[in-house]
């Protein structure tokens, strides 16, 4: 259910069917797993059984002698490479060197004629370890006598994504620290009419994608060629360039379809390892991880948050303070940026005059944490949006009214120094509330919640593209944005088709090949439609400008006399479409015009964030008071997307994100017992299923054309996740009177909370 169609658009703002639907559902779409190079070998990885241990020796001789094995690669074989990588902090060896830092870390790789042979040889590798003390939580990592995970000093990565210092590698287990501060929180809390305060926990979660990590590397004297399931090919290129000490022109990343990312495919993962395998084996090598191995590769940062929020006598939020400790696991990956983002996102989309947020992430001997859909926002929106409801309850206000009264207003600079707010939260919240029948009577045991979030999204604005208009009037877009299911390969041609006035079906997309497609920083932070969309729009217009000049040449008139019309030009009686302009210009029915665009942090993109990603969700749940089980009764998503280039795709992103957020609210959690991840498989790690969704689902879009992107568009696709866990916790409180501050709200946890309440209740 989208807002009314804006009448003037031909292609954009229409729900054209997604480009890749047919090939994907018929199994014809090619993923890296489907690719095979001539002479290709296969790698399998030996993983550490220990969380923290010195590697005393590795004897790979028996494995190397195993029939069918080409070679074994260990941390001792990397001379000649710069084996430590990381776009934020170069702390991650491509294979463990001298020590292991988490159970599951890659210690050696076998390269063989096929996967099974490589696997068989793994157990022939003899590794001797000396176990070290290990830490698993931020609290343990901060202790005086905590063992140090990283002894080295680190270089800060040039592409870390933020301007602040990197804290890692300074003789403690601190990976990154960040804080924001304005006003005077102490004073404000002293003068507050009411304050709520609490400790919250956001669990370790896994961004499950159907496709686990897979890459093929072919390292030769000519350079490094890699096919990978990577979201950000250019970021990976940067890491590989440094591992192999090559110019970027000699590193080529090719990304075909990606089978889902949700954050887990952002930045470099297995590419340096598979490249090192190819380098040593002197042939192309494929490494395909299993889901269980992928779960040992990345996860979300779990977060311990203490937060307090205050209101004045008029119900205006006057202060928020939080201290956050994040568990970043064994390597920094993208967590330094997660720290910065979660710090910012603690403020929520509220105008709060006094703010102090301190955030610190710590290295622990667990799976490295990194990007996760929503990017630090989900971690802090659990406390943030919980406290809005807690505070409303405390002062006897309707939580929805309370939100409306405090939400940032359109154009308000609610976050000092950042872009003024470019969404319409009142409309978002109204729409969500109406969709779930906020004011209608509630059945017994049911509860409702409406919550919202606003994140500083879009990442760094550096994006370029080429739009080629061919002599037959068809068009090729060259884009570094990766299609990972979000629909970019449908949305981008919609924009080109709109601008150039050509049929949508005639616009093709070539993407994510760093040797061919122009630079795009990343496909994340909900930025593609806004940034790459703008680039495609501008490149299309630049092509049109060139074709106007060509048309003047062809028609032997002045450029000023040429008038553009949809799909071509006119000059007096004469009318030419693009095909005619190009063919006549070259005097041959072939050739092309190349439109270009570079977007950088300037002009309308000079203010950061690129846009505020805003959304509201509404839920109604019921609680089985005997078992503690929560059932979703209603769900509404409201994406504040400026303009939906493709409404169906925008809604699809919202329901996907909300479902993922629901998973965190209800049952998703990676569990460590001692040093081992004990539910590291999808048999034991409970993912959301279709049957978990309520029967009543409403998807709404708010389209006020208030974004900086094409036609007023701005990004979506993450925001509906952020508020879901808090929303569920708030609804449970309304249904049962118990406040649960630790996600997920599993049946057992809810049952225990109800039991405690009843015990306390009977004592009174």
């Amino acid at each position: 259910m989208s807002a009314e169609k804006k009448p003037d658009f031909h292609v954009v703002n229409h729900a054209v069917p997604r480009r890749d639907a047919r090939v994907k559902v018929t199994g014809k779409a090619q993923y890296v797993a489907d690719l095979k190079l001539i002479g290709m070998a296969y790698a399998k990885v030996l993983r550490s059984p220990y969380a923290h241990a010195k590697i005393l020796s590795i004897d790979a001789s028996r494995a190397t002698a195993h029939p069918g094995v080409y070679c074994v690669v260990t941390g001792n074989d990397l001379e000649g490479l710069n084996p430590y990588y990381g776009h934020a902090v170069k702390d991650h060896p491509l294979l463990a060197i001298d020590k292991v830092r988490y159970a599951g870390e890659a210690v050696a790789a076998v390269v063989a004629v096929d996967e099974r042979t490589a696997f068989e040889a793994l157990e022939l590798i003899d590794v001797k370890y000396e176990e070290l003390n290990a830490v698993f939580t931020p609290q343990e990592a901060m202790a005086e006598d905590a063992p140090l995970l990283h002894e080295k000093q680190f270089e800060a990565g040039a592409l870390r994504g933020f301007e602040g210092e990197v804290t890692a590698g300074k003789g403690s287990n601190i990976c990154q620290k960040h804080h924001i501060k304005w006003g005077n929180v102490e004073e404000a809390f002293k003068n507050a009419a009411a304050v709520v305060e609490g400790d919250y926990y956001f669990p370790m979660t896994y961004a499950y994608a159907m496709e686990a990590y897979v890459a093929i590397a072919d390292v030769t004297d000519q350079g490094v060629n890699i096919y990978s399931s990577a979201q950000h090919p250019f970021m990976v290129r940067h890491d590989l360039k440094s591992v192999f000490n090559l110019p970027v022109s000699k590193v080529r990343l090719i990304v075909p379809f990606v089978g889902g990312g949700y954050g887990s495919k952002s930045y470099t993962k297995i590419e340096p390892l598979v490249a090192a395998c190819s380098w040593k084996a002197k042939r192309p090598v494929k490494l395909q991880l299993t889901v269980e191995e992928a779960m040992l590769t990345t996860r979300s940062d779990d977060a311990y948050t203490w937060m307090r929020t205050a209101v004045d006598a008029n119900g205006k939020i006057i202060a928020r303070q939080a201290k956050i400790f994040m568990n970043t696991g064994a390597y920094a990956e993208n967590s330094p940026l997660v720290v910065e983002k979660s710090t910012n996102r603690c403020v929520g989309p509220y105008a709060i005059p006094n703010v102090l947020i301190e955030n610190c992430s710590l290295y622990t001997n667990t799976v490295p944490a990194s990007s996760y859909r929503g990017f630090g926002c989900a971690q802090v929106t659990l406390p943030g949006e919980s406290q809005i409801d807690e505070l409303a309850a405390k002062i006897g206000k309707d939580p929805y009214e309370f939100r409306l009264a405090n939400a940032a207003k359109p154009g308000e600079e609610f976050f000092p120094g950042m872009r003024p707010f470019d969404g319409t939260l009142k409309q978002d919240l109204d729409t969500a509330a109406r969709a779930i029948g906020w004011n209608t009577p509630l059945a017994k045991g049911h509860g409702r919640g409406v919550a919202c979030s606003g994140s500083d999204a879009g990442a760094y604005p550096l994006t370029s593209t080429v739009v080629r208009v061919h002599a037959d009037g068809s068009v090729t877009i060259m884009t570094g944005s990766t299609e990972l299911g979000q629909g970019s390969h449908t949305v981008l041609p919609q924009i080109a088709a709109e601008e150039l006035g050509v049929d949508f079906d005639k616009v093709n997309v070539v993407s994510s090949d760093t040797a061919i497609t122009p630079y795009d920083r990343s496909t994340g932070a909900s930025r593609t439609t806004t940034l790459m969309g703008s680039a495609v729009l501008e490149a299309s217009r630049e092509a049109i400008q060139q074709m106007v000049v060509m048309a003047a040449d062809v028609l032997k008139v002045k450029v000023e006399d040429i008038q553009t019309v949809r799909g071509g030009v006119r000059c007096g009686e004469a009318q030419l479409n693009w095909s005619e302009v190009i063919s006549k210009f070259y005097a041959l029915p072939d050739g092309e015009v190349i439109g270009r665009s570079y977007i950088r942090k300037s002009g309308r993109f000079s203010a950061l964030p690129v846009f505020w990603e805003a959304a509201a969700t509404g839920v109604e749940i019921s609680v089985d008071q005997e078992t503690g089980k929560i059932t979703m009764e209603k769900l509404a998503t409201v994406g504040d997307v400026g303009l939906a280039i493709n409404p169906a795709l925008a809604e699809g992103q919202d329901i996907g994100a909300a479902t993922m957020g629901m998973g965190i609210g209800l049952f998703e959690e990676l569990i460590y017992e001692g040093s081992q991840l004990v539910n590291g498989s999808i048999l034991d790690y409970r993912l959301p299923r279709f049957s978990d969704l309520p029967k009543e689902v409403e998807l709404h879009l708010v389209q006020n054309q208030d974004g900086v992107g094409p036609y007023g568009a701005k990004g979506g696709g993450e925001a509906s996740l952020n508020s879901m866990a808090a929303n569920i916790a708030n609804a449970v409180d309304r249904a049962t009177g118990v406040r649960i501050r630790h996600a997920p709200l599993t049946p057992e946890k809810v049952w225990r909370a109800l039991k405690d309440k009843n015990i306390q209740g009977s004592k009174v």
């Binding site: 099974r116 299993t290 004990v678």
Partner: protein
């Protein structure tokens, strides 16, 4: 999950031949039906076998039939076949309904009842219900046959009394008359049940003459308690009052363990909740 290690597949034509193969391969061989347990465990490298003996090639081992007032289900019948069998749906709807809720449709389509029971994974729906229904298992080694009750077949977590060369040929379930009321209810969040509760009652008007309650999945084996069964007999009104005590007795017998599915106290509590639900459902 890893690539499967190399193994040879064998296709016996009779139970005796399969048994012969088991004897011949010893520790290196294992029976293989739907593979939903076995291949998963092999892909996780938890089990290794060089020889798999496919019971699906044995003629007749998947049949489902009524015989002399009993329902007979072959060891290689799939969950899905049982779920959709007219004989089962008509004569023992509680079994069809339980099967309908085992796993997901893909697992039900290849997974067999025999594989479920003989793997003896503690979170088994069929084991609990079949124990409550008084089912018997027919076992065969070469030419020697024996029959045991379910509690004598499943002896522990992943443990059975099957001999090294023995197969489960089939399950025989007595069909009680019109006086039988049965229900199976379960609590499940993940892939396996947290708790399953089977209740089989023999009623005469408002009087419950006989009762059998079995709780599964909370401990290594499905459990019943004579004391609980006693408390579940008598007039309906009286039994209703005794439900909590019966649940307490059952919980004591089951002695649930703390694990990823939940704390022992939570599971003890759930036994009470689900015994009540099973009772209401059985008598509905």
């Amino acid at each position: 999950m890893m690539p499967l290690r190399r193994f040879a597949m064998h296709q016996p034509k009779s139970v005796a031949e399969a048994s012969q193969m088991l004897a011949e391969f010893g520790e290196k061989g294992r029976l293989y039906a739907g593979g939903t347990e076995l291949l998963l465990a092999m892909k996780h490298d938890l089990l290794r076998y060089e020889h798999l003996i496919d019971v699906k090639t044995i003629p007749g081992l998947n049949k489902i039939e009524l015989k002399n007032g009993t329902l007979n289900i072959g060891g290689a019948a799939t969950h899905r076949a049982i779920e959709h069998s007219p004989a089962v749906k008509e004569n023992l709807p509680v079994l069809a309904q339980m099967e309908n809720n085992v796993a997901n449709v893909r697992v039900r389509a290849s997974g067999t009842l025999g594989g479920n029971l003989c793997f003896a994974e503690p979170h088994s729906d069929p084991a609990a219900l079949l124990l409550a229904l008084g089912a018997k298992a027919h076992l065969q080694a070469k030419s020697v046959r024996r029959t045991v009750t379910i509690d004598k077949l499943i002896t522990g977590s992943y443990e059975t009394s099957l001999g090294a060369d023995e197969l489960l040929e089939g399950i025989e379930i007595p069909l009680a008359g019109k006086s039988q009321r049965a229900a199976y209810v379960k609590f499940q969040l993940k892939e396996r049940p947290t708790l399953g509760l089977a209740l089989v009652l023999d009623v005469d008007g408002d009087n419950i003459k006989k009762a059998k309650a079995v709780v599964g999945s909370v401990s290594p084996m499905p459990t019943e308690s004579d004391k609980a069964n006693g408390l579940l007999t008598g007039s309906r009104a009286q039994v209703e009052k005794q439900l909590l005590d019966a649940a307490g007795a059952l919980a004591q017998a089951a002695d649930p363990v703390d694990d990823l599915e939940g704390g022992a106290d939570y599971k003890r509590h759930l036994i009470g909740v689900f015994l009540k639900r099973a009772f209401i459902k059985a008598l509905a």
